[in-house]
Symmetry: C2
Subunit: 254 residues, 2 copies
């Protein structure tokens, strides 16, 4: 049995709370948070408290709070034994106090305002200083997912950066496409098949190998036509820069 204390009351804290709830090997014994009304959500936990000095002995302390609060809050926790982990993609493990066992338990998922999915396919990245702690985190993570990666702080920083491209910027591309459709009375549903196709290809192909489109073909006539059609200065700039970047990528082949 792994005893867990959760620190935080936001989306990620809720995700851990809900997902760990029904696991035989895991027991969430306490939830700590500054905000009394936000703590209400967790009242089925054995103990909820706003008093951080009242923290209970546990095997793992999950610090599920905002990036810029991690270092400060971690200093205030009176942890004797047990492993303290944060859940952030962009904060190094060593911002946690070096006087205690420390690690990272990072679910590679976007927790937006909408409720997170509770999928068993969310990849987890784990990190710890000691092998025993890594094993403990792996056991904890495997109760939530089938996919666990051992990733260093340095790698995690780059992983988060890669995810900005693969996820945030991709969604912005969808948004720009949506606006073009909207302005021309085209149902955005026309894009759905292509979008899914493109995203599913990565499971079996390198993105490099499946690039298509006017920039890849070096079709400057179409590129110029498209630049003319774009009415917003920023979209035009994005179209030009990304086409240039694609042409640079395949430069030797053209």
């Amino acid at each position: 049995m792994i005893k867990v204390v959760l620190i935080g009351t936001g989306n990620i804290a809720r995700y851990f709370f809900d997902s760990l709830d029904d696991k035989d090997q895991i027991n969430v014994i306490q939830v700590l948070g500054r905000n009394e009304s936000a703590l209400e959500y967790f009242k089925t936990a054995i103990s909820i408290t706003t008093d951080f000095s009242n923290i209970e002995p546990a095997d793992v302390y999950i610090l599920a709070i905002k990036d810029d609060a991690i270092a400060t809050v971690a200093q205030t926790l009176a942890i004797q034994n047990g492993l303290l982990v944060h859940t952030s993609g962009s904060v190094a493990m060593d911002v946690l106090p070096k006087t205690i066992r420390r690690g990272v338990l990072y679910p590679l998922q976007t927790f937006s305002k909408t409720p997170p999915h509770y999928s068993e396919n969310i990849p987890f990245c784990i990190e710890a200083e000691e092998n025993n702690d890594l094993d403990l985190l792996e056991k904890l993570a495997l109760s939530l997912t089938s996919t666990v990666y051992k990733i260093s702080s340095h790698q995690r920083l780059h992983l988060h950066l890669a995810a900005v491209f693969a996820n945030n910027f991709t969604n912005h591309m969808y948004h720009l496409a949506y606006k073009i459709c909207e302005e021309n009375a085209i149902p955005f549903a026309t894009m759905e098949y292509l979008i899914k196709e493109t995203s599913h290809k990565i499971a079996t192909s390198k993105p490099f190998d499946v690039q298509t489109g006017p920039a890849k073909r070096g079709d400057t006539a179409i590129i110029e036509k498209h630049l003319e059609l774009l009415s917003h200065a920023k979209s035009k700039e994005i179209y030009a820069l990304l086409s240039q970047s694609i042409q640079d990528t395949y430069g030797d082949e053209l």
Copy 2:
């Protein structure tokens, strides 16, 4: 029974040939192409020929050739009756001779070097001058897919532009993420879950409503950290421009 003549021997011609082959209501009676060896693929058709003057009477002539050849080749076809359609996303219907019935039958799918999928979900965009012809094209398209849109030449041009953002540029984002992973010994498979999640959200949400990430949150500390991490000038430029564009999009909310 709709009699079809195919003009062209490339990927799109093959797609139509293979997909129409087993349809009761459709009969591909002839394939025309300049390249004798490429024509071999179609030899199960009743007639294959390199002689364009030998074109047979049909209900629909599908011109599945490169964009820049459409206008010229269309002029050379001795079509009496029947409907001539091209299959391009970026060419207007009116480049076809106005002396004959004309239209467009555009499958919204990327036909790269890899064999196309023969999915029944590929959306088709159809256009014609006469309602009868539109009905004929709809019937033909519905034998291949469950999703048919009536789209004007003007709309199709913008649809193709939107698809460059939603598909080609998105794939380039995947490629840039792939490179970051590769350079830091991170398995690209870590991205798979997020990529699928993001692409699946569009079926139920507007991209505008599900944007996440540092630019959306106005997290300038992370943005600056990411810009420092990026070693390639072009990637840095793309990160900065797309973050700026996201911040412009949500400017009033920050």
